[in-house]
């Protein structure tokens, strides 16, 4: 009888300890292991691709290439891809070469400096006018897509910024 009583007491204690342990586990799971939400990262990430492309396309080349904007240079490059473009810039380079250099310069000072991986693809159905990337893009990505009509069909301009 005494054995049974003390055994019951011990069992009760064991149950209490198990319950406390479970409670502590829950606390650890939901409180201690709570990850900080990356609100700012999501906000800037969501707008970066579209802001970059929209600002880049309307930027004028100024004295470097007859003040023509990048969008028109890309269109010219797409329409005269076989001859590297028909517009000849001030330094003697054609539009395709100039626009590749210009976009490289822009990304060098922006996304590259900010350690952002990206993939830029400018193409028609027949040709890839421009292809530029940095790093791998395996995780989440935000895309910005623009398209323009050219004599060689629709020109797609797509920038993927990788998370």
């Amino acid at each position: 009888m005494k054995n049974k009583k003390s055994q019951m007491e011990l069992l009760g204690l064991a149950i209490v300890i198990v319950l406390i342990a479970m409670g502590i586990l829950f606390i650890i799971r939901f409180s201690v292991l709570k990850e900080p939400s990356e609100t700012k990262k999501k906000y800037t990430f969501s707008e970066l691709a579209s802001n970059t492309v929209s600002a880049m396309l309307i930027a004028n080349s100024g004295e470097e290439c007859k003040n023509i904007n990048i969008r028109d240079l890309l269109i010219d490059c797409a329409e005269h891809f076989s001859s590297n473009g028909s517009i000849i810039c001030e330094d003697g380079n054609k539009s395709c070469f100039y626009v590749r250099e210009a976009t490289r310069s822009i990304f060098n000072k922006t996304l590259d400096t900010w350690n952002r991986n990206y993939q830029l693809n400018v193409s028609t159905s027949s040709n890839t006018v421009l292809n530029s990337s940095r790093g791998s893009c395996l995780g989440e990505r935000k895309s910005s897509l623009f398209f323009f009509e050219t004599l060689e069909g629709t020109l797609f301009i797509r920038l993927d910024v990788c998370g």
Binding site: K40, E63, N67, T110
Partner: protein, 167 residues
């Protein structure tokens, strides 16, 4: 008899001691967790503040391009940025309510990166800086082709607005 009561007293005291020890240990554990959670929440609040200021700056009528009274999204007027010099300094108190402790700079990246403008600068003692970079178009009205062939400045440039919020 005396021994027995002493042992029992000792027992009670030992139980109380262990109980309070467990209580204190539990308290310390709880307060450490709470402290961590509060730090996380404070970081999130700081990030929200940085986003708010970035949003306010992005939509300031004093800097935005306006075409036929419609704000052009993601575009800053260079002439307004030039015109703003001094205006914000004169009205610092007004802008503090909006922009608080922050640094807002715009830099032109393309076609040349010679120009930059400091819109607002108020950085006091700080422990943390949250930076946001926003690519923008920079519009120069004097280069507008509808104004005739000036051939002087490009009328849209590519720039970046840097918003640094100090906590």
């Amino acid at each position: 008899m005396r021994r027995k009561s002493q042992i029992r007293m000792g027992e009670s005291i030992a139980v109380m001691f262990v109980f309070f020890l467990l209580l204190v240990a539990g308290f310390i554990f709880y307060s450490k967790i709470e402290r961590r959670n509060i730090i996380i929440e404070k970081e999130e609040a700081d990030e929200l503040k940085a986003i708010e200021i970035a949003q306010i700056v992005s939509f300031l009528p004093e800097t935005q391009c306006i075409k036929e009274n419609v704000q052009v999204y993601n575009c800053l007027d260079i002439l307004k940025l030039e015109a703003l010099k001094g205006v914000i300094e004169e009205n610092r108190l007004y802008y503090y309510d909006l922009l608080q402790n922050s640094n807002i700079t715009v830099k032109q990246i393309y076609p040349d990166s010679t120009s930059s403008w400091i819109i607002y600068n108020n950085s006091r003692n700080w422990t943390k800086k949250i930076s946001t970079q926003i690519p923008v178009s920079l519009f120069n009205a004097t280069g507008d082709p509808t104004a005739g062939d000036t051939g002087i400045d490009p009328y849209y440039a590519f720039g970046v607005m840097y918003v640094d919020v100090f906590i």
